[in-house]
Amino acid sequence: MTDSQLIAAALAVPATGAGLVALAGRWPDARETLTLAAAAALFAAVLALLPAVLAGARPELIAWDLLPGIAIAFRAEPLGMLFALVASGLWIVNSIYSIGYMRGNKERNQTRFYACFALALAATMGIALAANLLTMFLFYEALTLVTWPLVTHHGDAEARSGGRVYLGILLGTSIGLLLPAVIATWAFAGTLEFTPGGILRDAGLSRGALAALLALYMFGIGKAALMPVHRWLPAAMVAPTPVSALLHAVAVVKAGVFAVVKVIVYVFGVDALAGSGAADWLPAIAGFTIIAASIVALRSDNLKRRLAYSTVSQLSYVVLAAALLTPLSVAAAALHIAAHALGKITLFFAAGAIYTAAGKTQVSQLDGIGRRMPWTMGAFAVGAASLIGIPPAAGFLSKWLLFQGAASAGHWLAIAVLTVSTVLNAAYFLPIVHAAFLREAPGGEPAHGEAPWPIVAALVFTAAATLALPFAVGVPLGLARSVAGIPPAGISP
């Protein structure tokens, strides 16, 4: 297959998969097999694209003109490849996990669940591979819509109100802020093509206008959950855990920060933005989000809510990194997309495993659970370590690059935020680890063991990947550096 065909395949495989899953709804085994097959095929397609991108090529697929002068077009560039790799690779794992979870909890409407999931992946691929803002916006909205049935999966009053917040904020911000920003970009730049160096550089906009446009983008991309448009993320936790794991820790939220990085790097241009000073306010907002969300996480007893606020906080790491506007920090932003994905999906997997095996949802119920579920809680500890930034789990590497970026920008606020937030991360994650392994389980509880094996297998795999990523960091780091315009062997001590 040519590279263009591979791009087409990356979009078509999950979409077709969704259709087939829907058709196979009556036979659960066939349905789940199809999901796995689609996931594997998608990952293979993305993987097959990788060598060309690593070699410096930018394969393209131009579908047709959506509006005169603006095409539905796709291009595989490093950042998108990184995102596509993470999302498609984890879809396989998540599908295995889903099978264990959905069957283990005897969930209803499983066909809709798997079909929407595949559609969500198709939309994610569209975002990852979009060659221009309009294409990205299109799939961005599509992702919101196809994930909504997943958020409201349970269909009860709680799910409904969660779904309302979810859709309200995501659609509201994207239509109300992002769309005008895209149109304004078109009006000013005459193109929406993602271009290294940015397309707004020569638009002759004043500092204030650039800052306003940037603000429209940053808050318009509600999926990046910058405060105060973060509320949808905890609201989305009413979804079944596999949804929280892949979509609200990986695909959807990463689509948000991915878009943020794309916009900063390819629309505004890092150098142009740095030169204008129009992004000076952004690190402060991102920093505030990091700290404030961590504090909320610290005060949340519900495990998934704690993880959700942790995600809000971690997403802003990416925003902060991109906002520092240095090559190293941009690489850090790209890498953190992958690092956080692995760590957070592990944590959500663990949360779901705890729910499936023990029916527990609160942090305060977890005393001594590590002895009953050693694999699960061990994986949880690894995921937590990664997000705190403890080496050699993946998170430390992006944090380190982020420090380097902050240092090269001389940005003391960023340094302070990183330091404080690390301590806060530890403060909301480690008590869980402590409770699991070092406290006695309260007496009189029914005994239970690990969750069903697909769940455990999936979370052990992602935990192992979290630990392994830094040791096999060549591909992601190469892609990340390529985004930032750093030559492949650019950093050495």
Binding site: L134, G163, I175, G176, L179, A184
Partner: protein, 490 residues
């Protein structure tokens, strides 16, 4: 039959079909004639569209009297665009009407319905195709009178009152229009619009001409239901038979918009209307108020059909908003929204017609859990609703794009913000349907008879598909609109 005759043929086909249907006195042949005539018009309109795109405006002198003495039929890109919309929607609605009208009307009066339908189609097409101001009035009356009766055919007894109100106001509108034409004739001595335009350029600031402008503006505004002259519309749409609502919502007001565009840009000229008189500001103000109030009123409606009627008023506000910008982007937005909204609203009313068929009416109490009993209908409403909101990937998005672009290019950021903010009200009222149909438990009043018949569902879904199709493939809609905008601004 040659290409020059196409402008006349488009109109004549349904015009001739009407008496034929009347003479048939039976439902089935009447329906067949009507459908065939609409189909023929559609084909002719498409052919015209192809021709004017490549070869420029087509003129046809009725009775071989050359203009300006005779009645000229003149089709340019803008009118071809509207002709395609009107005849296309008419063709799609006709099969729907078979099932829908059969259920809603008495059987022995059905042939009357189809005859009137043909008349109405012919009137709207004639308004679009003619180049003669008085001839336009004649067609306007044909379309209006037939639609009063069509509305009055509605099952609900309130339909009669609605039709009566519409009649009074429509007549006032038509009268105002004809007074305006009279004044213009007095001043210019011609009824041919192109000729009129040429002669008006010297005397445009005289008081009779200004009075003509005022009369024509108010008259046409009544027809297109511009705020605050919209009050006849909600009831008319709500109580009319479903097929009538769908057809009129998709085309009736759109043709009036066309007339407004014609007169503003083609007859009076941009200089007087937009530069010397504050028309664009007034139109802007009225559009803004229309969008806000109608959207908000829609939000609280207890009946989906009525909700959509108010939404139509708001959407017309978007169109006039685009006109008020008087820029390339603005006019493109106006024309493309005219087209996109016609399709979208047509689709919605057809689907709601299906609900009404099964449930008697489309009150929200009948919609609880509807997705379970009428999944295709519900899904169609959601998709068309997304187009109404302006979600990317739907036709409505394209309109919003150009509207916001026009606002930004004019440096009116507040207007861009206003447009997107009011789109969010649309999100809210579409959300009410989603919540009722998908999230609420199955209600006691919800129809359980299953989906609407295929004859209704298929036409509806054709328009649903079209409202998605024109969100992805804009080569016809946007380019046609852009050409029309360029033409108007010449």
């Amino acid at each position: 039959m040659s290409a020059e005759q196409l402008p006349a043929l488009v109109v004549v086909a349904p015009l001739v079909a009407a008496p034929v249907a009347l003479l048939a006195r039976r439902a089935l042949p009447a329906w067949m004639v009507a459908t065939a005539a609409c189909g023929f018009s559609f084909v002719a309109a498409l052919a015209l569209a192809v021709q004017v795109t490549s070869g420029g405006a087509v003129s046809y002198a009725l009775g071989s009297w050359p203009p300006p003495w005779g009645i000229e039929y003149r089709v340019d890109v803008l009118s071809a665009f509207v002709l395609v919309l009107v005849s296309g929607v008419a063709t799609v609605v006709a099969p729907f009407a078979w099932a829908s009208a059969s259920a809603e009307l008495e059987r022995e009066r059905l042939y009357l319905f189809y005859a009137l339908y043909c008349l109405c189609v012919a009137g709207l097409l004639g308004m679009t195709a003619t180049g003669d101001a008085f001839n336009l009035f004649v067609f306007m009356e044909i379309a209006s009178l037939s639609s009063y009766v069509l509305i009055a055919l509605g099952r609900d007894r309130r339909a009669l009152l609605s039709a009566y109100q519409y009649l009074v106001l429509g007549t006032i509108g038509a009268t105002f229009y004809v007074i305006g034409i009279g004044l213009l004739y007095l001043m210019t001595g011609t009824l041919n619009m192109a000729d009129m335009a040429a002669r008006l350029s010297d005397i445009s600031s005289t008081r009779p001409v200004l009075a003509a402008l005022a009369f024509i503006t108010v008259g046409v505004s009544l027809k297109l239901a511009l705020f605050p002259l919209h009050l006849w519309l909600p009831n008319a749409y709500t109580y009319a038979p479903s097929a009538v609502t769908a057809f009129l919502a998709a085309t009736g007001t759109k043709v009036s918009v066309y007339v407004l565009l014609r007169f503003y840009f083609g007859v009076f000229g941009t200089r007087i209307v937009l530069e010397e008189l504050p028309m664009s500001q007034i139109l802007l103000a009225l559009s803004v108020v229309a969008i806000v109030t109608a959207s908000l009123v829609a939000l609280w409606q207890a009946d989906l059909k009525r909700l959509l009627a108010y939404s139509s008023i708001a959407q017309i506000g978007y169109i006039t908003l685009g006109i008020s910008m008087a820029s390339r982007e603005g006019l493109t937005a106006a024309v493309v929204h005219l087209f996109n909204h016609g399709i979208t609203k047509g689709a919605l009313f057809l689907l709601v017609g299906g609900v009404a068929l099964r449930a008697g009416h489309a009150g929200f109490d009948r919609l609880q859990g509807l997705a379970r009993t009428m999944p295709l209908t519900s899904l169609g409403i959601v998709i068309a609703g997304l187009s109404l909101i302006g979600t990317p990937g739907t036709a409505g998005f394209v309109s919003k794009w150009y509207l916001v672009l026009g606002a930004i290019e004019a440096g009116r950021w507040w207007l861009a913000a206003f447009i997107v903010a009011t789109s969010l009200i649309a999100v809210a009222y579409i959300w009410r349907f989603v919540e009722a149909a998908y999230l609420a438990p199955l209600g006691g009043a919800t129809p359980r008879a299953g989906e609407a018949p295929a004859a209704m569902l298929v036409p509806a879904w054709i328009l649903v598909a079209a409202s998605v199709w024109f969100g992805f493939d804009t080569s016809y809609s946007v380019q046609g609109a852009a050409r029309a905008a360029a033409l108007l601004l010449q």
